[in-house]
């Protein structure tokens, strides 16, 4: 039913790489969808996490959002949004559904980054007469970066593997190769697509891990 040599032959066939549903296009699409969802999540979670960490108000949001997002199945949310907003806006629905799973880890990472800064540092910034904005911009944000990137890493791993759902609502990405391959019983294609997703996940995760270590020594 499937062998390593089939898989090698699949990768070697240029037909599988070219065209609208070829590997190259799907790969770029997969990465683009992932990055777009992470960008939206960052725009929401970063300011919110900094604000909650800075003021110490609204901590329940960090825990609450985390629990809700774990309870809501992404596939259900995606289908519900597509039904609600119509099929024309299915790409928006997909990005919102993906952002919904990316926001909680980013929020938690940002919040934890700010609150774990030693009190002495935050207090001395205040004692020097820095305004609230200055403390966020020059003290809390830089020192929380490492933890933020940690949250981003978790968000990335979850989003990059959930983009696979996109073809169910008629959008692309590497999930196409899996959904189509299963229906056609083309297991080489299924395994090849999965392998590429695994490679993206490992590369992206290592990259973020490296960035996290580089910002670690700020504290």
């Amino acid at each position: 039913m499937f062998s390593i040599s089939d898989l090698a032959a699949w990768f070697a066939d240029p037909v599988n790489w070219d065209g609208r549903y070829g590997l190259w296009f799907l790969l770029l699409e997969h990465v683009a969808i992932t990055l777009a969802a992470l960008l939206i999540a960052t725009i929401v979670a970063l300011p919110l996490g900094l604000a909650i960490g800075h003021t110490g108000r609204g901590e329940f949001l960090v825990i609450g959002l985390g629990s809700i997002s774990r309870a809501v199945p992404t596939m259900g949310l995606l289908f519900a949004l597509v039904l609600l907003w119509g099929v024309q806006l299915r790409d928006v629905s997909l990005l919102v559904a993906l952002a919904a799973i990316a926001i909680p880890p980013l929020l938690a990472g940002t919040f934890a980054g700010v609150t774990t800064i030693p009190w002495g540092i935050r207090d001395s910034a205040k004692a020097q007469g820095m305004t609230g904005f200055q403390r966020v911009r020059y003290v809390e944000f830089p020192l929380a970066t490492s933890s933020m990137i940690g949250g981003m890493r978790i968000a990335f791993i979850q989003v990059v593997s959930t983009v696979v759902l996109a073809p169910l609502v008629g959008l692309g990405g590497l999930g196409f190769g899996i959904v189509q391959g299963l229906a056609l019983r083309n297991y080489s294609q299924v395994v090849a697509s999965s392998l590429v997703i695994i490679v993206i996940t490992i590369v992206g995760s290592q990259l973020l891990g490296w960035l996290q270590r580089r910002t670690d020594d700020r504290l």
């Binding site: 609208r20 549903y21 289908f79 597509v82 119509g86 099929v87 024309q88 299915r90 073809p167 169910l168 609502v169 008629g170 692309g172 196409f176 959904v179 189509q180 299963l182 229906a183 056609l184 019983r185 083309n186």
Partner: protein, 295 residues
């Protein structure tokens, strides 16, 4: 090895004797040693309704029935059927033929049925097929059909810039973009619309879409199904497929269901499922009653 062969022989003889007994009697069997009949179904609401009609007509004749419904796709339940974990499942001639013989070229209903009989692995039997069909078909909106005066797939040849929506696998199916071009000279750009195929058609994201012919939405949304004069699509009639030895009386009962079920009946039952949100068992029961197949 030798012992198991003898056991197998003994079992077959017993089965044959049992068969002979059943063949002559048309009265509901009363033999208490009758084995439970396990009926499966795909994870497809319409298939579940058909499976329910099989289950209920058997139960009405006193057979104990076990339902193993929503078994997913063929990859999952065909091995179970071959292993004898399921005794009976409603299938579709064309799609099942394609599963066992991807290179099959037959498209007409009778040819597909004959080819299916040959393609089925040993141990599986296709009963007489029903006239009810649930097969792939190309559909356009009423407006699009009127604007381009479309009746059959042939008429699409004069339309340019067509987009075709369907499940991702349609891209590679023989009746997909390549078949449209070679059989009808129709050039389309394929867009994998997945579960949103019908919505995408109505929203104008695609011009034509592959929808199963028994889908209630064709009627509800006033879609126009393009006729297929050159036989691009495989006919896919509802056909019960059984595993191993099934008694003649069971076959007789199931054949009665297949003979009574028309394409319109199937669509009507699907409409009830989608519109009235009735359970498969209620829909099947009322249909069997309306046909006088159960009391």
């Amino acid at each position: 090895m030798k012992l198991s062969r003898i056991t197998a022989l003994a079992v077959s003889i017993t089965a044959l004797v049992g068969l002979a007994g059943c063949a002559t009697s048309e009265a509901p069997p009363t033999d208490p040693s009758i084995e439970t009949i396990v009926i499966g179904s795909q994870a497809y609401y319409s298939n579940e309704i058909i499976a329910e009609t099989y289950a209920q007509i058997l139960e009405d004749s006193g057979y104990p029935v076990e339902r193993k419904f929503s078994l997913g796709q063929r990859d999952v339940y065909i091995p179970a059927l071959e292993a004898g974990e399921i005794d009976l499942i409603p299938e579709y001639t064309g799609n099942l033929l394609q599963f066992f013989d991807p290179a099959a070229t037959e498209t007409a209903a009778d040819e597909v049925y004959t080819a299916l009989g040959l393609a089925l692995p040993e141990g599986l039997t296709a009963f007489t097929m029903s006239s009810a069909t649930d097969q792939d078909s190309y559909n356009v909106t009423k407006e699009f059909a009127d604007a381009n005066s479309l009746v059959s797939i042939e008429d699409l040849a004069k339309v340019t810039g067509l987009t075709l929506g369907g499940a991702p696998e349609l891209a590679e199916r023989p009746y997909g973009p390549s078949g449209l071009l070679s059989v009808y000279g129709v050039t389309v750009e394929f867009q994998a619309t997945g579960e949103t195929t019908v919505d995408s058609l109505v929203a104008g994201i695609v011009d034509m879409a592959n929808v199963y012919s028994a889908d209630p939405r064709i009627e509800q949304l006033g879609l126009v199904t393009l006729s297929d004069p050159r036989g691009l699509f495989l006919a896919s009639n509802v056909v019960p497929v059984a595993s191993g030895v099934v008694s003649d009386y069971v076959a007789y009962l199931i054949d009665k269901v297949s003979a009574a079920m028309t394409a319109e009946d199937l669509v009507a039952m699907n409409v009830r499922s989608v519109d009235e949100k009735l359970s498969a068992s209620v829909i099947a029961r009322e249909w069997l009653l309306s046909k006088g197949l159960v009391k």
